[in-house]
């Protein structure tokens, strides 16, 4: 079974700043705590994967802010990963980096340890807005860090861009987008701001202190985003992701193709045959349990046929390559139409889905109303009786 798992996610929950929108597992960086954490993380990996792992295709270190670790800690972690995983088989090794958060030494360290892709947390090219969303970096830091990447020959860079931020006008977004495109990077990941519970923005929103763009403005930003990317030869390959050909994120495509992955670290998520795993979130609890037996699990959810089908669809339809009816049938042994004929018919009529060459796609309005579409592909236990 192990051999089927080709992707590994590693979570580093430390930050030197806490952003106003972030609901990830994160803690202010503390040297001692971080050292303990890495020990626990390594123990978790070793307990789950015996010996060297030769089958890894993608590695992804996310956060938090992985580069919040100090040089020694980062070196220790990267060297461990190089020993643990066969880097020759690894096609993509991503790490998240924030502007201004990395110096010459750390950049060199990443390069030497086989990091091949950078996920770059720019968010917006506007100092005022950066301040308002609680980021500590400024636009000038973005330029400096991009220079640093170039110096160390990192070419596969993905730039994170947010839109629909409080106080952000359509024009401001367009400007941010233009500046970001001037870097001519091969990958852009773009997200409309979502207000998540337990964030600074959530509190402000509840108190009515958040001046968010209207729905019309947000739709306009999304449309500008799509057409501008397209005009620059950067094609959309997922609801929120754009890339030059060949630079699509292999790690993320693994999620959307509903394939397995390990998730290590506090609050990390993994998917192994038949089960989805969520790790403990509080740092002390995670460290204690990971050190004890290497299984710091908060929740393990059984994935039966029902969940598997649902996920196949709502993940698959996120991709612009669509959901292939043939592949679905090959994987599950029955046709998509057997379960969803009515839904598909209805959404085609509503212009939210279209079918071309035995493949199902979201239309342009479907992209904006994806949840509405996905919802109706959620199954009842009784639906499955039709299969047998």
């Amino acid at each position: 079974m192990e051999q089927e798992v080709q992707s590994v996610y590693i979570h580093i929950p430390f930050c030197t700043q806490i952003c106003h929108y972030c609901d990830f597992v994160k803690f202010f960086y503390n040297e001692k705590l971080a050292t303990e954490y890495i020990d626990a993380l390594i123990n978790e990996i070793n307990m789950n994967i015996k010996g060297k792992y030769n089958n890894v295709r993608t590695l992804y270190i996310g956060g938090g802010t992985p580069t919040a670790l100090n040089y020694k800690q980062l070196k220790f972690l990267l060297e461990f990963l190089n020993k643990k995983f066969d880097m020759d088989s690894c096609e993509e090794f991503t790490i998240e980096v924030n502007p201004g958060d990395i110096d010459q030494e750390k950049a060199k360290l990443l390069k030497e340890n086989g990091v091949s892709r950078i996920s770059f947390g720019v968010q917006v090219m506007d100092d005022q807005l950066l301040k308002e969303i609680g980021r500590v970096h400024r636009v000038k830091d973005v330029y400096k860090t991009v220079d640093l990447f170039r110096q160390y020959h990192f070419s596969n860079i993905s730039l994170d861009l947010m839109y629909a931020l409080p106080n952000q006008s359509v024009e401001q977004f367009q400007h941010s987008l233009d500046l970001a495109l001037q870097f001519d990077l091969p990958h852009y990941a773009t997200y409309g701001l979502q207000i998540e519970p337990k964030t600074v923005f959530y509190l402000k929103h509840k108190k009515g202190q958040l001046n968010r763009p209207t729905e019309e403005a947000e739709i306009e930003m999304y449309q500008i985003l799509r057409s501008t990317m397209n005009g620059n030869g950067i094609h959309q390959y997922e609801i929120s992701n754009f890339a030059k050909p060949g630079f699509e994120s292999k790690h993320n495509l693994n999620y959307w193709s509903n394939d397995y992955y390990y998730g290590f670290g506090a609050g990390a998520h993994g998917y192994l045959p038949g089960r989805r795993i969520t790790n403990l979130r509080p740092l002390p609890a995670y460290v204690k349990k990971a050190m004890k037996d290497g299984h710091p699990i908060l929740e393990e959810e059984r994935i039966t046929l029902k969940e598997n089908i649902e996920e196949e669809i709502f993940l698959g339809l996120r991709r612009m390559e669509g959901l292939s009816k043939k592949q679905f049938q090959a994987k599950f042994g029955f046709t998509l139409d057997l379960l969803f004929k009515e839904q598909i018919k209805k959404f085609i009529k509503m212009d939210l889905l279209y079918v071309n060459n035995e493949t199902l796609y979201l239309t342009e309005s479907g992209l904006l109303l994806a949840n509405k579409v996905f919802e109706e592909f959620m199954l009842e236990d009784s639906d499955l009786q039709r299969i047998y």
Binding site: Y9, E310, M378
Partner: protein
């Protein structure tokens, strides 16, 4: 034969909701060793889940207990439980008719409440011996002296006779049992006389048919006897007689003073009437026990399945519930908006809620309930008078001469600090002030005549919030009075939705119309197109709001592979939709059909 006569005591417990009746009943069962501690479920008499959850008793129970008194004699007690809510007053009155004594439970901190009063008066009318018990004396806020004084001032019961108890802490239970032996009279009646058995409740059992709960007032009854219902003259042969211990236990016969059950292959509870007298068909009694009255529903609403495929299941659910509850009335009705459903009549709002919840819970049917309505009497211009229990059936305004609506006499007991608040609410609810009586230095009975339709709106809630929960409230129907009423129609996307129509007083029409279109805008989720919401009287639109079209939902990234969360969100979204009904082209949530009840006053 006389020696066969046992020492029997029949009694019930009267208490306000929350004053500890069920706990006391449990303690009595435990202390008479009727039920061992091990078998004891909390509040055993409240058998239905719903009863236990809501802390109220819906169906009566009659349990036989054996009690060995300190005087060395063994007594048979029949404890007859009564519901505590005003919707079920008639059931209370029937169960009291089966007793010779009543334990009056009063909360040591809260004192006597209006509903308790009503039931005590019922007990007094039935000539019952009353044993006052001041419960919860172990509470820090207990003030038994004040409650004793209340007993004297309000009910004329000697406060010194009150037993101080805590059912929870098992204090005073022994004293209560001894007092029952001492003061509750043995049932009168002669076992050699022709049979007279009072039916005080009934229950449907799928194996035995209707189980009639009876109290034998004269004569005796045994298996094989031919019996006759005196109100309907229907005859049956007895299959089984027995008592509840508290499990149903067969006996050879029931005789004078016994409280138990009989079965006789009776197919529906509709065939027997609570309050009726059973006699022996071969040797009938000359006259029945003081008569029963047919219960008339006071409140009507439409019940529709969210999924129209559930219509037959809903019919079956109603049939099943009716077997057990002859006060539930229903007939099929069709709504353009909601399809096939039933118009149902209930004794009151609580009764309505209980039936709804039982259908949803026990029969697993998602329901849409239309706003409750009372029965209006409409005099048409052609001289004909009709009853209207469904607002959508109200004739056109030009055909109406006059509309009358039912009024109730509302008795609100409240500490004098809140009299002003009570009067303000009552006035706002179109009430006519009738009387105000000081019960003591603190408590006041405020009496109003109020349209029942206003009570059906948010009267309870307003009363509760404006008096910080201190007010208690009782009402009885007093008859019809003409009112200036109009029918308000609601249009969604230009179509009149019959299930949303309601009747409103002319003077409030504009305010309510505005409130309801705003409320519906809040309750109905945005659709993929713009939906105008309008309120109209006749052809005239009096208020409007617009539900804007939805063009995007959240297109969030999938955080670090957290796919479970995404799936759970979608599942939740789908669950929410199950509670929606497609009305024309608009998805309308269940709550919207009750929106008319939820309009704030200000």
């Amino acid at each position: 034969m006389g020696s066969k006569r046992r020492k029997v005591r029949n009694f019930s417990i009267i208490a306000h909701i929350d004053h500890g009746k069920s706990t006391l009943a449990d303690r009595i069962l435990e202390n008479t060793q009727t039920v061992s501690k091990r078998e004891m479920k909390e509040q055993l008499l409240d058998g239905m889940d719903l009863e236990r959850e809501r802390g109220i008793t819906i169906k009566l129970n009659a349990v036989q207990l054996k009690y060995l008194s300190k005087n060395g004699e063994e007594y048979i007690f029949h404890l007859i439980d009564t519901p505590g809510h005003v919707d079920f007053t008639y059931e209370v009155s029937r169960s009291l008719a089966a007793c010779e004594g009543a334990i009056l439970v009063v909360d040591a901190a809260q004192g006597i409440e209006a509903q308790t009063l009503a039931n005590v008066y019922l007990a007094m009318e039935n000539d019952l011996e009353i044993i006052p018990v001041i419960n919860k004396i172990d509470l820090p806020s207990a003030d038994p002296d004040r409650v004793k004084q209340e007993l004297e001032d309000v009910l004329g019961i000697d406060g010194d006779d009150a037993i101080l108890a805590s059912a929870k802490a098992n204090i005073g239970i022994e004293d209560i049992l001894e007092r029952i032996v001492e003061v509750v009279p043995e049932p009168a009646g002669d076992e050699n006389e022709p049979l007279k058995a009072l039916i005080f409740d009934s229950l449907y059992d799928s194996y035995r048919g209707v189980i009639a709960y009876v109290c034998i007032k004269e004569g005796s009854i045994k298996v094989g006897d031919k019996i006759k219902m005196m109100a309907t003259d229907k005859e049956y042969e007895v299959n089984e007689v027995g008592v509840f211990t508290p499990k149903a236990t067969s006996r050879d016969e029931l005789t004078v003073g016994d409280v138990g059950f009989i079965t006789a292959s009776i197919k529906s509870v509709g065939d027997i009437h609570v309050g009726d007298t059973i006699t022996n068909a071969n040797r009938p009694a000359e006259e029945a026990l003081p008569g029963y009255r047919r219960l008339n529903p006071m409140v009507y609403c439409g019940l529709y399945p969210v999924d129209s495929n559930d219509y037959n299941d809903l019919r079956e659910a109603l049939e099943r519930l009716e077997l057990n509850d002859s006060s539930l009335q229903y007939e099929p009705e069709t709504s353009q908006a909601l399809g096939f459903g039933f118009r149902c009549g209930f004794l009151g709002l609580l009764h309505m809620e209980i039936i709804q919840e039982r259908i949803e819970r026990e029969f697993n049917i998602n329901l849409i309930t239309t706003a409750p309505s009372v029965i209006f009497e409409v005099e048409k211009t052609d001289g004909e008078t009709i009853s209207v229990d469904n607002p959508s059936e109200m004739p056109d305004p030009q055909k109406i001469q006059e509309i009358s609506e039912p009024y109730v006499k509302a008795t609100i007991m409240v500490p004098n600090d809140y009299v002003g608040a009570v009067m303000e609410i009552s006035q706002k609810k179109r009430g006519n002030f009738i009387d105000m009586q000081y019960l003591d230095d603190i408590r006041v009975n405020v009496i109003y005549h109020i349209p029942l339709s206003e009570i059906v709106y948010d009267f309870f809630d307003q009363l509760k919030s404006q008096t910080k929960g201190y007010a208690s409230f009782d009402y009885e129907l007093i008859g019809y009075q003409p009112s200036k009423l109009v029918k308000m129609d609601i249009l969604l996307n230009g179509d009149t939705i019959d299930a949303l129509s309601f009747i409103v007083h002319h003077d409030f029409a504009y305010t309510r119309g505005k409130q309801i279109v705003d409320k519906l805008k809040e309750l109905i989720p945005r659709q993929q197109f713009e939906v105008p919401v309008q309120a109209a009287i006749g052809n005239k639109i009096i208020a409007r709001s617009t539900i804007k079209a939805v063009r995007k939902d959240v297109t969030a990234k999938l955080y670090g592979g957290d796919i479970s969360r995404k799936r759970k969100l979608l599942e939740k979204q789908k669950e929410g939709k199950k509670r929606m009904k497609m009305v024309g082209s608009v998805e309308v949530p269940q709550e919207a059909f009750m929106a008319v009840l939820e309009m704030g006053e200000d």
